[in-house]
């Protein structure tokens, strides 16, 4: 049922998108019938005119607008080729039109394309122009496109420029997001410099995800240097996350050495968490080997955590075999692994996952059921609530049902209340989920 709904929604979205984009696509497909003197997207030679821009006429503006219309259906490479064929004044004219666009999906798509392409061609000009945009939404969109489109080699320039930019140009959250993207790209080209820059920023400045990516990129190139850097990050709250990224990158470079290092450090919390990340990476390429590696870990925390992440990684590609393996683990290790499988499988194939849940029993089933219900709840809260209420453990049943009901009551109070009131639940359970009914005056 859920799958059918998703398919229908997808078809509607694709159909609508195709209809919306049809005019732009037509422009592109008409490229071959354009007059040779005016290829698609080409701007006329610069002239002096009354447009307000130096060397630009009203006719130029008219042609520039035409180019913008055609850009909407082009690829980044096509726009790059267009920009590369024009001089800076012509590019400025084209980009000038972007900031006057009205807010909307098509306008945003045009800004994305132009600034992604321009960031590859002339990142300095692109950044300067984006920051000069009057419209806040267009400025934000252009900045995001620049950081998305830039190469690893120019990311350092962008990151350094951004740190010198005043706070009035963008929100703190956007600045952090851009810095995070830029640092991740920078670390692909020069991880040592990116890592040291990251460590020099205020501790609360960037997300843990940035630390993980920088450490991962560095370790994929030079594990010893990355390990040394990670071990020095003791003052940062993100040191453990950086360690997880480091072990992941190290494994890409030298799997045997990474596994040996991880196995020798599983007595610490950071080592246990890192081992689980390593096991998860192994599971993506060889789940059987990852499963064997995880189950032989002698440290209980490391073993159960790793079995859980192996199950998750395995279930993403092959849920049936992942489920079979998790169900065969010792009873004490099943809960986390089965829950992982249930949560991942429920999102890819809820029908099959639900049938598999019927084969489980006991405490492990309860955790898996709650995980399944939680994963299904955003799509079908009624089904999710039914599953949650089937758990035999009162604690799990009540907690799962309460959270699903609270979320549903927030999103669609009328439907949620109707379902709960018409359900076979006891009056006590109903009152717990939607609150006590108020007696009539």
């Amino acid at each position: 049922m859920i799958r059918h709904i998703a398919i229908v929604l997808g078809v509607v979205a694709l159909g609508g998108a195709a209809w919306w984009l049809l005019p732009s696509s037509t422009y592109i497909s008409n490229r071959s019938i354009e007059s040779p003197g005016h290829p698609v997207g080409a701007l006329p030679p610069p002239r002096t005119g009354a447009s307000g821009l130096k060397g630009v006429s009203n006719e130029d503006v008219k042609h520039a607008n035409l180019s913008l219309d055609r850009i909407a259906g082009a690829s980044v490479q096509e726009v790059y080729d267009l920009l590369a064929s024009r001089n800076p004044e012509e590019i400025a004219l084209l980009v000038q039109q972007l900031q006057d666009l009205t807010f909307g999906g098509l306008s945003g798509a045009k800004i994305d394309l132009v600034f992604k392409a321009w960031a590859q061609l002339a990142p300095q000009d692109a950044l300067k122009t984006a920051l000069s945009f009057r419209s806040g939404w267009a400025r934000s969109r252009a900045l995001e496109a620049i950081f998305d489109g830039t190469s690893a080699g120019t990311a350092a320039f962008l990151v350094n420029s951004l740190t010198l930019t005043g706070d009035e140009a963008m929100s703190p959250s956007l600045k952090q997001q851009l810095l995070s993207k830029g640092l991740s790209k920078w670390s692909e080209a020069d991880p040592a410099a990116a890592a040291n820059f990251l460590a020099s920023l205020p501790v609360s400045g960037l997300s843990a995800e940035t630390w993980r990516q920088v450490a991962e990129n560095w370790a994929a190139q030079d594990p010893a240097a990355a390990l040394d850097w990670v071990q020095k990050q003791t003052t940062s709250d993100f040191g453990r996350t950086a360690m997880q990224g480091m072990i992941s990158g190290w494994w890409q470079k030298d799997p045997q050495a990474a596994q040996a290092y991880s196995a020798s450090h599983i007595d610490t919390l950071a080592g246990q968490q890192s081992a689980s990340v390593l096991a998860n990476r192994m599971a993506s390429s060889n789940p059987e080997e990852a499963a064997q590696w995880a189950t032989q870990l002698t440290n209980q925390n490391a073993r159960q955590m790793s079995e859980m992440t192996v199950a998750a990684g395995w279930a993403a590609n092959d849920p049936r075999n992942a489920a079979q393996w998790a169900a065969g683990l010792p009873a004490a290790d099943q809960e986390a692994a089965l829950s992982a499988v249930a949560g991942i499988w429920a999102k890819s194939d809820p029908q099959a996952a639900g049938e598999w849940l019927g084969t489980l029993s006991g405490e492990a089933r309860d955790s898996a059921v709650a995980s399944f219900a939680s994963a299904v709840a955003p799509v079908d809260p009624a089904i999710a609530l039914s599953w949650a209420l089937s758990a035999s453990s009162p604690t799990i049943r009540e907690e799962a049902a309460r959270h699903i009901a609270n979320d549903w009551l927030t999103r669609d109070p009328s439907a949620a209340k109707t379902w709960i009131q018409q359900s076979a639940l006891s009056e006590t359970d109903k009152a717990q989920l939607i609150g006590p009914s108020v007696p009539p005056p």
């Binding site: 979205a13 919306w20 995800e209 968490q273 689980s276 949560g343 991942i344 939680s374």
Partner: protein, 76 residues
Amino acid sequence: MQEKEKTMKANLKKIITCVCVASVLAAASFASYTRYDWNGGGWSGSWVSSGTWEGDIYFSGGEVVQNNLVRMKNLP
């Protein structure tokens, strides 16, 4: 009359665009970046715990993005 038709078509486009965006967002939520909490009997995100772990773990599909799980105290 032509102007009216143009306006109607523009409005129709806007409506269809809104529906499309909503549909895409709904479909995208199937594969969204997910945070799983294990917090001692309670939960938020997509998994529930019977009380073994506390903290959270972040997944993108089946890949662990970040693991902050800690085994709960007073457990064997």
